[in-house]
């Protein structure tokens, strides 16, 4: 359940932004690489529990899983790795090199409302 620590770090970053912008966060989008083995349900569960009593309570998390890519040494194809069938979809060979996994990133935070000046200053966009 490493999602617990991920949730803890995520909450700290969002709370910091909420304080800076003096606004209530309602949703956040994060992206993560396959090798982080993040389970959505576990992450949301941990986040919900930790967010109780903070301005992040009730926030929605959207988790975007980035595929792990590999470079085929036989035919030079770059492809998304499927661990259940670890071979190149082009030449069917298993001689490939894994490319770096996508990092675990807090992409954006959605707020109920931001003060106007703040909105300008932070180059945000309105839905």
């Amino acid at each position: 359940m490493h999602e617990g620590m991920i949730a803890q770090n995520l909450l700290a970053i969002i709370l910091q932004h909420a304080e800076e912008h003096n606004a209530k966060p309602t949703a956040a989008r994060i992206s993560c690489g396959k090798l982080y083995a993040v389970n959505d349900e576990a992450l949301c569960f941990a986040f919900d529990a930790l967010a109780q009593g903070t301005s992040c309570e009730g926030m929605q998390l959207q988790i975007e899983h980035k595929p792990l890519q590999a470079h085929c040494k036989s035919c030079s194809e770059t492809f998304n790795v499927d661990f259940a069938k670890p071979k190149c979809p082009n030449c069917e060979k298993g001689d490939f090199e894994l490319l770096p996994d996508a990092p675990l990133i807090l992409e954006e935070i959605e707020f109920e409302e931001l003060p106007c000046n703040d909105w300008q200053k932070n180059k945000t966009h309105q839905e």
Binding site: H2, I30, A37, T124
Partner: protein, 219 residues
């Protein structure tokens, strides 16, 4: 409703400490290994045997990660190697800040190698970089030959796979297809070094020691 772009690494705080640890190991020319496996695969037994048998060649320090107790640290202490026990009090993996704190208590100047024995868990520790030079994954015969296929992340990220308790394979004719393990692990990680060993009988340990000595020499 308004959105702001953040683009920040969620585990940035962990990474910062991991890089500090890594820098320290580089400065001191100390090899750091992060040992990861399920509980009961034999990490501590591998370490105690390795430390004892390489005593004259490599000076080893150990950071022991466990949810609770210092049972493992006590076993390491019998070898005379310096050891720091971290109790995570429930957390399923070690974090870089815990290792950073432990490092201040290890006499690192006199060490060629620091082994971090992570909390027994085949999933979570693989997500946290601690500043190590290499991850070592241990799989024991009793756990079954399907583990690389079922827990790919740690096998994809490790430099070495130690297949431990090989003595069980011959003694009990355990249902364990070692070729399947090798093939599955190499599909995920073509360059992974695989050493079938028994930390109990000593079988296969020599090749593992050779690998270790080479890493320490090449620092």
């Amino acid at each position: 409703m308004q959105k702001i772009n953040v683009g920040k690494k969620i585990l940035g705080a962990n990474e910062e400490y991991a890089l500090r640890n890594n820098l320290l190991f580089a400065e001191k020319k100390t090899l750091c290994l992060n040992m990861i496996s399920s509980p009961g695969s034999g990490k501590t037994t591998i370490l105690t045997r390795t430390i004892n048998e390489l005593k004259d060649k490599i000076r080893v320090g150990v950071i022991e990660g466990d949810i609770q107790t210092d049972i493992d640290a006590e076993k390491i202490r019998t070898t005379g190697a310096p050891v720091i026990q971290i109790n995570t009090e429930g957390a399923c993996h070690l974090s870089a800040i815990q290792v950073n704190r432990a490092l201040t208590q290890l006499p690192i100047d006199g060490l060629d190698m620091v082994c971090i024995e992570n909390v027994g868990n085949l999933v979570c520790p693989s997500a946290f970089f601690l500043g190590e030079n290499a991850k070592i994954v241990v799989l024991s015969v009793a756990e079954g030959d399907d583990k690389p296929a079922k827990y790919p992340a740690i096998f994809a990220k490790s430099k070495v796979l130690l297949i431990n308790k090989m003595d069980l394979l011959t003694a009990t004719q355990a249902d364990f297809d070692i070729e399947r393990v090798k093939t599955d692990a190499r599909k995920l990680n073509k360059d992974i070094e695989i050493f079938p060993i028994s930390a109990k009988s000593g079988e296969g340990m020599y090749s593992w020691y050779e690998w270790l000595e080479k890493q320490v020499k090449n620092l």
